[in-house]
Symmetry: C2
Subunit: 452 residues, 2 copies
């Protein structure tokens, strides 16, 4: 075992420049799925990197979605591990807050800067280069590897469930390893045996054909006020007030709560990092973590109506919209919740709202004693020299349910990006060390899974 | 009297091309006060037009505001009429909804198209060319004329009150005529013996230094939700719920209500014009008009937070703002209301909101039996061959209070722009006929006021 880690590390060290250069290649491609920018080009670049790293790889075009890059590396083992990550990234607005061009892939201060460096192109590179390390040293990986790298993770993996349903045979495996997250602030690996779901909706209210003079406000309905009023009916004092919203919430279980006892949470650090004065309810430590992992949310991700430039304009807007992302916990169901929201709004007279579904991911859960969870845990301690933090759930979301609910696999989420890497925000980055350690970490999870 | 109208009309007809050409000159200058675009250039062009039309005129620079263009035409009469209008215009967003470039001043279908054509450069030209008509025909106007044309009407005349306070002697007059409105849909002149006030505020809530991943929503406050909640405390079911907001509302009086009996309101036309399905409370006719004239409002003119481009981005915004315009009725007071709003928000814990005052105009009222109101009424009937609609109040706002409350003058508001001219909206226009009739109308008000 020590032998594998050592030889893998030696190979990584030798190929360090190529690894970082391939990461920068990917970062330089925008691949913003929400805005359909640079997707095809990034998929092609990724496919090249995968082939150049020694695997068979192909771009699989989807009829209505962004291509999936799918690769395989054969092994003489009978076991197969399905590896998942994504090559698409979040939008970059507000652009003026970036120090470096978000797609320059600048290397400075031992960091690779740019949108997607941490979320999740650094993780993608770690998976690919782990396979390459086995090919370069042992000659083959210890289990068959299947790479499923999608281009729609940041828009709720819209087409992934359908793709997975239609390709169960191709994707057949013994477990799945999803590499799409970060270390914790203390430099320990974070391992997740479950993910929140996500329901991303846009509510639009249109009340007139054109914007009007605000002097008409006494008699003409204002769509922004309608929206404010509807929103206020949806959430009150931190709790979602849609009838039946919490009906299917089955977590945290006793086992989940037991796992929480081993975990800490430094709320002071997060306040400092983001410049936040007060957390909701002034929560601290485990209490904050429990809320993060197990509280369903309704977040206003964006809202807009009327005149929003400098100064004043006395206008009565004709349209207003809000983008809401709901995080869901096990075992809420997106179809069920949309129905509940529709009925809630209709019952209160908000028939002037149109609801658009922009994304839906079901919450997902894997037994913490599953082999793939254990493999990740053992590998993490070997690489990072610290016991990993094992979470019963993730505060973020991802398409884990396609593995657990469609393919019926045990699945684990982990990754190698730095804590506080400004993901989903300006000035995203990863560090060279995080990426190189990430290659070791991915290699060792594969090795440990082979050993189980 | 008939003689004056006829000779004025003849002069207007002869100078028709110059009148429209001067209007187009002004429309071609952006002069957007909210965005500080093209102000100086438009003031200079206006000053040229005024001088070329035969009056003394000067650009008066203000220390912190847009210049006032001030002109005079002497008469052998002892009476003086103060004429008011404005050369600044509303912003043009959304630009893609304009058929013609908003500053091209295109003439098509007997209309002059462009931002400001109706609000209020057409009215400014009518006032100037009325003076010119007297100079060209009689040799002098029947009363002394003082022209006060400001560049900040669309941003609540921020600096006008101070300017008027400091120049009481220069502005001394027997009454004021404010030319800044439209005919009614039936082609009758509309005459206003009062105006609503306006309080334009921006509320901002900033909760963090940068935008964050929305997975943090269980513990980090969302400024957009804070704003939605604060807004909901300010207005509920159409009524402003700030403590004491209606305390100083002294209208409608019995006299106001009596005037309302002579007025009609075609709510069907306004619904059709703007593509509005339902008015608030399904009001019709006089009931709709009463609300328009006498109801204080709190309008969301603009709101924004977070990600508002296409598709989805799971972001927890760090800042949110709303632009609110409050229309006020006699005798609410802006300073008093800001205090009340601050105390309302503080009392409910919204200490994370910052309030910026972007504009303030007091409500204003003139006796409907005042000489200047009568003069406008008689002139209107002569020019438009129909009895004018005399309103006890206007549904819009303006700085009338500088005349009634600071200069202690009787004041009337009227104007010559078309109904439904898309003011404050894309595709604003006026018609050539409206402008030329407007010159006659302004001339006749001056003449009738001289006769009183």
């Amino acid at each position: 075992m020590i032998g594998v880690l050592e030889s893998v590390r030696e190979s990584i060290s030798k190929n360090q420049d190529d690894i970082i250069s391939d990461l920068r290649k990917l970062v330089k491609h925008p691949s913003i799925s929400a805005q359909n920018i640079g997707i095809e080009e990034c998929a092609a670049a990724l496919n090249d990197v995968m082939r150049d790293s020694g695997m068979t790889s192909n771009i699989i075009k989807l009829p209505d979605g962004n291509p999936i890059v799918y690769g395989e590396v054969k092994s003489s083992s009978k076991k197969t591990l399905l590896l998942y990550s994504h090559y698409d990234v979040q939008p970059v607005e507000p652009l003026d807050e970036w120090k470096y061009n978000p797609f320059s892939g600048v290397v400075a201060d031992n960091k690779v800067h740019g949108r997607g460096a941490a979320d999740s192109k650094g993780n993608v590179i770690a998976l690919i280069k782990a396979a390459k390390a086995f090919l370069d040293t042992v000659g083959e990986p210890p289990v068959n590897l299947k790479f499923l790298i999608e281009g729609e993770e940041e828009i709720s993996s819209v087409n992934l469930p359908d793709f997975v349903k239609k390709n169960k045979q191709m994707l057949k495996a013994n477990a799945s390893l999803c590499f799409d997250s970060s270390l914790n602030p203390a430099g320990m690996a974070s391992i997740y045996a479950g993910l929140k779901g996500l329901l991303y909706l846009e509510l639009r209210c249109k009340t007139a054909g054109i914007d009007m003079h605000s002097g008409l406000a006494p008699i003409i309905p204002n769509p922004a006020w309608r929206l404010v009023s509807a929103l206020n009916s949806i959430k009150n004092d931190g709790r979602i007030t849609v009838d039946g919203w919490y009906d299917s919430v089955n977590v945290p279980t006793k086992e989940d709560l037991a796992l929480l006892q081993d975990l800490g949470y430094d709320e002071k650090m997060i306040k400092k990092e983001y410049g936040v004065k007060e957390l909701i309810g002034n929560v601290t430590g485990k209490e904050a973590l429990k809320k993060l992992l197990f509280e369903p949310t309704c977040n206003i991700a964006g809202i807009q109506s009327g005149y929003t430039s400098a100064g004043s304009k006395t206008v009565l807007p004709n349209e207003a919209f809000v983008k809401l992302d709901f995080r869901l916990v096990y075992d809420q169901n997106t179809d069920d919740l949309i129905k509940k929201l529709r009925s809630h709004l209709a019952k209160r007279g908000y028939t002037d709202m149109t609801i658009y579904k922009l994304g839906a991911e079901e919450p997902s859960k894997t037994d913490v004693n599953a082999k793939i969870v254990k493999a990740a845990s053992v590998a993490a301690e070997k690489v990072y020299k610290k016991k990993p933090a094992i979470f019963p759930n993730m505060w973020g979301s991802g398409p884990d349910f396609v593995f657990t609910k469609i393919l019926k696999l045990e699945s684990v989420w982990t990754g190698c990006s730095p804590s506080y890497a400004n993901i989903h925000a300006p000035n995203e980055f990863t560090t060279i060390k995080n990426v190189l350690d990430g290659v070791s970490y991915a290699s060792m999870i594969i090795q440990e899974f082979a050993n189980t």
